[in-house]
């Protein structure tokens, strides 16, 4: 084996160990709820906990709404920027990156200050209003991922020519977006959706400060009061995130193909 190749394998091995050893240790620990034997009792305990089901279901629902709202905001915006205002792309990219720069704690305090009960739009005054605020916060939080995913999808198709082809056939902008553009970037949109879901499921700061019964605060609560269940929950969270990533990979196989056969 060549020396350079050996070093490559050693580096790879160290990286894999750095990533997998803590995970395997967590998994192993999650199985040790019974003294002297491995069991899945910690998982059974987590799954049978009604708070797990309620908080997970709540986060899933909030995530779903965040995805829908995100799609309705990001897809038309990215499409129009590409089509009509390509010079605005750097600005839009900067704006979409802001949620990565601004910590969620700042974001949520800003929301609370802006939408408190004495404001013009008192969203925090009701449960439903706070839920809306949480959804919108998650839309903002997922914006960098959703925008980039959609923009990458738009880059794979000839947006301008497809739009012109549909326009000259009589279609209006709504029809073009719904029937021509969206179906051709659906895989990219779903990538953004799964990334959004992965973020939302584990998010703690915003949900906690808005006092909503989400999965993130539940994880924290269990972690503070139990020994083995938090390890099981960490493994479950990883599986959910990996599942989302795996779905992105799987869906990319079904992307509409654009190339022609060679003559």
């Amino acid at each position: 084996m060549k020396r350079s190749k050996l070093w490559a394998w050693i580096t790879f091995g160290v990286a894999v160990a750095y990533f997998l050893v803590p995970l395997l240790a967590t998994f192993e620990f999650s199985l040790r709820i019974r003294r002297g034997t491995y069991s899945l009792d910690a998982y059974a305990s987590v799954f049978s906990d009604p708070r797990f089901q309620a908080t997970f279901g709540y986060s899933l629902l909030v995530g779903l709404f965040a995805i829908i709202v995100g799609i309705f905001i990001v897809v038309p915006a990215a499409y129009f920027v590409r089509l009509r205002a390509p010079h605005l792309r750097p600005l839009i990219e900067f704006v979409t990156l802001l949620p990565l720069i601004i910590p969620p704690i700042i974001l949520v305090f800003g929301y609370i200050r802006l939408y408190n009960t004495s404001s013009i739009l008192p969203l925090t005054g009701s449960t439903f209003g706070t839920d809306i605020l949480l959804v919108l916060a998650y839309v903002a939080l997922a914006l960098p991922y959703m925008y980039r995913a959609v923009d990458t999808g738009l880059r794979t198709i000839d947006v301008q020519t497809l739009t012109e082809a549909a326009t000259i056939l009589g279609a209006n902008q709504m029809v073009i977006l719904a029937r021509v553009i969206f179906p051709n970037i659906i895989v990219a949109v779903l990538s953004g959706a799964f990334l959004t879901l992965a973020i939302v499921i584990g998010e703690f700061t915003i949900a906690s400060l808005l006092n909503r019964p989400a999965f993130g605060p539940y994880l924290q609560n269990v972690g503070a009061n139990r020994a083995f269940e938090p390890a099981a929950l960490a493994v479950i969270s990883f599986v959910i995130t990996w599942g989302a990533m795996g779905m992105i990979q799987l869906l990319s196989r079904f992307a509409p193909k654009t190339a022609a056969l060679t003559d």
Binding site: I157, D158, T161, L162, E164, A165, A166, T167, I168, L169, G170, A171, N172, V175, V180, P183, N184, P256, K257, T258, A259, A260, L261, T262, D263
Partner: protein, 354 residues
């Protein structure tokens, strides 16, 4: 013939650059007109203004007497075929062809029968369920044509539809396009930079340069009677001879020291003045010819065998002429270094204006 499309004083500027400079054109119903010119001459911009994708800076476009200058593209009832096919990748061939009909609110049965009719017309019956990526470039472009004409548009625009295809398919598809256009009798505006394409399928050709129309005419007229030096040089291959007026008294000029008598000299010519003469490669003959009244002596510099034609580069001194001769299996073509006589009929010489 009735006038179908009129373009009046059309101007288009992008910032400080004017790409279309007060163009006036008129097309008859059922006509196949080609806008021909080099890249950046404004031909595609005119087509895009007719389609409605670009708004003219000034001027007007009327179709059958109705001003459509400010009409949205989806209200114009125009069909268009793009260079890059622009088939919708998420739809199969049937859905692509039926797209315009669906938008127009046609019934499912009508869409189905029209789609089948279109597929028969383009020679791809039974291809409804195929997806664009499963087809060759030529097949995709035929589907794009079918999609454009399926909603029965008033006019068809073709934006360099053959440019992305290979040479053989380009020739067969352009003939198909012309046949379909004749069959449907649809007024068609075709944009290309390929002069052979333009000359072979058009009723009339509009030659453009730097935002201006240089000449409008039938292909035969454009090729044989170019109105300007640009048209003569852009359309077909042209030899330009820089000569000097030898004597205005007997209409003679000097070409690299060889005295040649012309039928006439341009008005205002005087002895010693430079003069530009042009002639097509195919009007010259190597050897003698009964109808030729001009003979020049030259030396073969290059002989390019192109199959049915042999292109010779013959030096007269400073001037090098390109001459096309048909390949004759019984006679070997002139070789490099051979001294040859070139015969020309003076009527074939073009004395160009500016």
């Amino acid at each position: 013939m009735t006038e179908f499309l009129r373009i009046e004083n059309l101007v288009k500027s992008f910032g400080a650059t004017t790409v279309v400079k007060s163009v006036n054109l008129s097309f008859n119903a059922g006509e196949f007109v080609t806008l021909l010119g080099p890249s950046g001459c404004g031909k595609t911009t005119i087509l895009r203004m007719v389609a409605g994708f670009e708004r003219p800076t000034s001027g007007s476009i009327t179709v059958e007497g109705r001003d459509i200058t400010d009409l949205a593209p989806n209200q114009r009832q125009i069909g268009m075929v793009f260079q890059a096919y622009a088939l919708f990748p998420n739809m199969n061939v049937g859905d692509n062809i039926g797209f315009g009909l669906k938008i127009a609110g046609k019934s499912r049965d009508e869409i189905k029968s029209r789609t089948e009719e279109m597929l028969k017309l383009i020679g791809l019956p039974g291809y409804e369920k195929r997806y664009p990526y499963e087809m060759s470039g030529g097949q995709q472009q035929r589907v794009a044509l079918a999609r454009a004409i399926a909603p029965r548009p008033r006019m068809l625009l073709l934006d360099e539809p053959l440019s992305a295809l290979d040479a053989k398919i380009r020739v067969s598809l352009r003939e198909e396009i012309r046949a379909i256009q004749r069959e449907l009798g649809i007024t068609t505006l075709f944009v290309t930079h390929d002069q052979e394409e333009a000359l072979s399928i058009s009723d009339r050709v509009v030659v453009m340069n730097a935002g201006n129309v240089e000449q409008v005419g039938e292909p035969f007229e454009i090729y044989n009677k170019p109105a300007t030096r640009f048209v003569a040089q852009f359309v077909g291959t042209l030899n330009t001879i820089e000569a000097t007026v030898a004597s205005t008294a007997d209409n003679t000029v000097s070409i690299d020291g060889q005295i040649v008598k012309l039928s006439a000299l341009p008005a205002g010519a005087s002895n010693g003045n430079p003069i530009a003469l042009t002639l097509r490669p195919e009007v010259m003959t190597v050897g003698t010819r009964p109808d030729a009244d001009i003979t020049l002596n030259g030396t073969v510099e290059e002989a390019h065998f192109l199959g049915s034609v042999i292109r010779l580069s013959i030096s007269l001194g400073r001037t090098v002429l390109n001459i096309d001769t048909f390949n004759d299996q019984r006679t070997a073509p002139p070789a490099r270094g051979d001294h040859v006589k070139i015969s020309i009929a003076s009527k074939d010489l073009l004395i160009l204006g500016a």
